[in-house]
Assembly symmetry: D2
Homo-oligomer: 414 residues x 4
């Protein structure tokens, strides 16, 4: 086990840790430590909400979650010798939930949430405007949920969020272009984007005026951007190697939002099985790598070679037509994937799951979301691959029709 | 080898076959034969352009292709007992290029094209407005191209286009909603969609007024729709089972646009390695299956279990920001995947490929296109997985930088 | 399709072909053609028995088969420039059954046989001394058998037998060491080895005294030896590359005994799904490769990357104890694997298969036979991995016990 | 993390633990705890030698190891309700090295040993009669060795040894049949088998006369037998489910000999990367399962679905001919696999590894050992699949010949 360079006491909020982390992107958040190229080290993490959600049977905590404090990150970690223009090479050696059981997410359990339309939303928020939750129990590499009987996943554990710090210029670009988007419909619910928000901001070890400036300017952590960030790539698991653009001296790497499992798209917004835990990393540098390899706008990565091996899938397709109005959208992969998801939900409902159970399942199970056709005007075609082996019953179509059963219900709001 | 129920002489156009096929979707195209549930049969196919492209080093044929005659399909094949509301179960037993070598695509060779912005376009048509071509030689299950030295793919052969006939009502919906989209910008180049087009229409064995009506009303074959159609799903290969909605008595199954290999998205529009050849099918029915399984808007399928096994990938990500203008689009997976593609092209250019070579490569190679994050406002995040084993040199990033070499050029226009 | 350099009329015996093949290994069998390094070419093959077995429901043909005429090989093919000490690089581009249906094995069907103890024997010949047969129907890449209901395999097609010609010295060594083994128990049934046998010998295009000498001296084709030969490696499928030692000028490559599918060990002796058909090859040379790479006693190969993808297995283990007498053998992997096979048969019998059906299934299905422990004195431990997905019922153990059903019977002798 | 039911202080020998384990198989060793069907629990383990080997550069510890104290097991664990004739279902939920770094194997490092011919031996002990060692450093799921530069494995972690207690009758059979084998050549070095040995015996919590009797009668742990035991199955990793025969009331499950990685056969005898650590298990029962499923002589198991994904292999074959004397052995898979191993070693020597380095590599790397042909008289054919991706250089054969380099040396004896 490598040395811990960022430690977390899961009984305390991130704000109250001996060395606190941060929940905004800003070049001026001080580094918590400096590692050298070639070094292996461990980082401990809180779950993305800083443990606002509980191991119970009510979704009230999802409905009422304070999203201003998300995502709680560990870091930033400085890398000796890293300069703008370099590529920071990060190997994910290991990661997992916490060793101890307890009441914080990751302590033997995790959760998946459907966020309410009024507080976070999600990919199918028009179809599912209310809050729901599923709690998962960990069994080594596998998880089960009392709220989703009949399924058992082997986790492709990964960090939902990992990235380097933006430069001041890049941060300014983010804020400008996202505000422009917000300005196209400022009252939209859910909003188009989140501007810098002082409420709930945590600036690591910065204090005083520095902390206030970081809170006022710091980019929200929710989207993926040029620095990586909240990419939610389900295959960024153990054994993966990532090449991050470096925008500031020292690179300033941060990580958090660990997932026990997730489907492509993380469609319920909080679709992964969320947890706190640890991640072991190794870092190195490719000097001047951004120009050398043409990696200028987003990280490049190589997934690891250890993943659950599935060989049979049910694949649902969707095209870019709004089904409710029969309106054709031009090459719109988002609409196409939404339809593929809705088709998968309809299929699972035929077997007795509720729609919200099916939606939670598709967020957290190791499904693949593929852009199958993106050139055949006017319809993009996306496909969703659902592995059949995660079910403890035979979920394949037969001439006899589906076996309908009472499959319970997930946690709902009071 | 099962009985041939639709045979093709590759020396003749589809129009001149003893029993011609069709290139429009319409419920009234007469069936060429009727098969029973449980039957296995072979269908022979022309390539999608009806052999307008040649095994040479000029892309003039791509530039000048007549798209009104595409996609040339074999069928429709009636299935005994199939009624609207059923699911037609189609197993792909085998498929491949023609047995004989010759001058038609599929006769020992195939092609990939970048279509010109003015005649077809493609996913990156703004970046690549001109026509290009790569010709591939088949070596059993693998293909190489003199226009793309350094790569060799094992083909995941599949039909780009397979589907059932629409009902008259469904056809009318297609025509209405696509015309509505066209009407939003009628002069756009490339167009938003293609309306029914009498020029070039082929209505199978229909004649006289019937043929004229089919030409006037028949939906173009280019997009994927409720009936399957041009889904361009690269994994719909040997061993796959598809469950098609049935909209008309007899189901009326048609198939064509065979691909030797394709990447997710088929991004150059004619991105697959295109070929004529044969496909062996087995059919069955799930009576009333659409309602039983909730499969009402698109086919469901189960991919086969025989695919090239790759274990190492370079993964490029992109987010939904227009890079040229730094404009943020909201949860736009199409833009995100476009950026992932551009990032992959930039990477390959760093090794000496031209941009158009890289673009052709990404269309035809067995890349995976994933919707990784679709909920983290405002940025969708898509990823493109490029298998490293298709290259005959080590294409992974190293501290030493890429090995730049003269990697030739694809076919260009005169 | 590459040029055919060895053609076979499946309506005629190998002996009656325009250019006959051979069924003995000898350096003096004349080449049928000479190919150059870099060339691709097709070879057509009879099944290994030269079509002595039939598509019927009796195993009399297995019981009465004339083994003196086996294995019928196509070739030898000379390779320009190949000299002793080189490595001959052979790529398997494609292979499969014949295109036409008919009465010869490979013409739409194949067979698996349990050979009688008195005529061929097999791995479990003491337990199964009589002849049995299963006939398989091909459905594209898959096969089913009326004699083995409930299973369906995707074929890992491969040549059971492929090799280069021995030098005169090497041939003499083979004959000497195998005769020495026979001499330890000359009357054994089945015999320890087969000496050169004039009866049934076919020496290709050799005639007169040459043919007589070849028949008198030529090594039987049944075992694997330094030249490759009857290795029966189930993964030597499409996409594989083999590096053969070259022992004579021109290498003299021969091939035959095509298999639609086989399990590791081919345990019933004729355990594969046997067929005639075609194989497409590409050849090249590594000059002086035997010394360069230390490949002096057996071929080296690299399996292809296209195989059925299975993810769940039942694994049976066995140790090197004779179960019938409770006698311990020292590190005897053969005994250990025999026990693993018997354990698998007992398991399948619990579900309703007859022992001979189970034995036929394990010979032909894509099982893996592993040497798990070979150092833990005194017991070797071998394991047999049976993929569960080849069954159309759930074959996994449950607390409820196996579902016993009438699963028919294979072909038996009259 | 489940409750620990058997804990180990890695600073103390197994003999000095608060609750000691055992190193002999005997029905009368008292259970350390009783678990119920459905329970999940953690067991901590010493490495198999009880930490006799060290993280240094000398193989003297291997040469001088006391094998009378091996294999140190944790347990036995009683299972409520288990009766003879049942199948004990054991799920491996997780396993790994210890969390802390330190001087005991498993504390951040492990080792592979070639045992001396005079003290343990191994599969190629005639070729490698002296002791050697390689020490491995763990990096999350991967390991590297200063003694084997150029390779890096992802561990398929597994218990080398896990099994249920024999009944008194079964134990008597073991002792009888193994003594009979020893008696065929009592002075053989290495011996054919190991009889019960009082020296070094540890009988768990048994004391006095009980302990003496157990030491005098208890079977040595080295071989695999009907109860499972030292099967050394490299794929018995996380996610595996094992069905053990139950021979005594309570089943009495014991486990130890954890491996970070191992190749099929574990050919150097101590061929795995050996470590202490933990294993998390879940147990259940199939009442009367031995008769129901015909699982009477050895455990049945289902491997997990999470393993390193390799797609390219070098495959070495061997046949059952003694190469040194050119003597033919009849269907001898052990000899065939030995030749395959020697062929692989010769190949690696051509690249600059020493023979002993190559031998250590083949013991510990995730190679596959296959019984390819076991019926083609007189030669068994075995194959060894070596994944190419574990090397950091291109190890495939080319026309240019191997790249010879100084690849260091493993630890040798003084």
């Amino acid at each position: 086990m490598p040395d811990v360079v960022f430690s977390v006491d899961q009984d305390k909020s991130m704000r109250d840790q001996a060395v606190p982390g941060h929940n905004r992107w800003h070049p001026d958040i001080p580094v918590v430590t400096v590692v050298r190229p070639g070094q292996e080290f461990r980082v401990e993490c809180r779950d993305w909400t800083d443990a606002q959600l509980h191991n119970d049977d009510s979704a009230d905590d999802v409905r009422d979650v304070d999203l201003d404090v998300t995502h709680m990150l560990s870091g930033p970690i400085g890398v000796e010798g890293a300069e703008p223009g370099d590529l920071l090479v990060v190997d994910i050696l290991d990661l997992g939930p916490t060793a101890q059981t307890g009441s914080a997410p990751g302590q033997g359990w995790g959760y998946t949430g459907i966020f309410a339309r009024d507080n976070g939303g999600g990919f199918l928020t028009e179809q599912f405007p209310d809050a729901y939750k599923a709690v998962w129990d960990f069994h080594g590499q596998q998880a089960t949920s009392r709220h989703l009987p009949g399924v058992r996943y082997t986790g492709i554990t990964h960090p939902g969020l990992i990235g380097t710090a933006p430069s001041a210029d890049l941060l300014a670009r983010w804020n400008r272009r996202e505000q422009a988007l917000i300005d196209t419909d400022p009252g939209r619910v859910p909003p188009y984007a989140l501007p810098p928000t002082v409420s709930g901001a945590l600036a690591g070890q910065a204090t005083g005026a520095d902390a206030e400036r970081i809170a006022a300017e710091g980019a929200r952590t929710v989207p993926a951007r040029e620095n990586g960030g909240n990419q939610d790539i389900k295959n960024l698991s153990r054994g993966s190697r990532i090449f991050f653009p470096v925008f500031v001296p020292g690179a300033k790497l941060s990580v958090g939002d660990l997932h026990f499992s997730q489907g492509d798209g993380e469609i319920t917004f909080c679709g992964a099985i969320e947890m706190g835990g640890f991640i072991d990393l190794h870092v190195d540098l490719v000097k001047d790598g951004m120009a050398k390899f043409g990696v200028t706008t987003n990280p490049l990565f190589m997934p690891g070679n250890v993943e659950p091996r599935y060989s049979e899938f049910l694949s649902f397709s969707g095209v870019s037509v709004d089904r409710d109005t029969d309106t054709n959208h031009y090459m719109d992969a988002t609409t196409a994937y939404r339809n593929a998801c809705r088709n998968a939900i309809a299929y699972l409902e035929a077997w007795g799951y509720t729609g919200e159970q099916a939606y939670l399942l598709l967020g957290s199970a190791p499904i693949e979301g593929r852009i199958s056709g993106i050139v055949d005007i006017p319809n993009a075609c996306c496909t969703l691959y659902l592995p059949t082996a995660i079910f403890d019953f035979d979920v394949r179509p037969t001439a006899a029709g589906p076996v309908v059963a009472d499959r319970g219900q997930c946690a709902v709001t009071s």
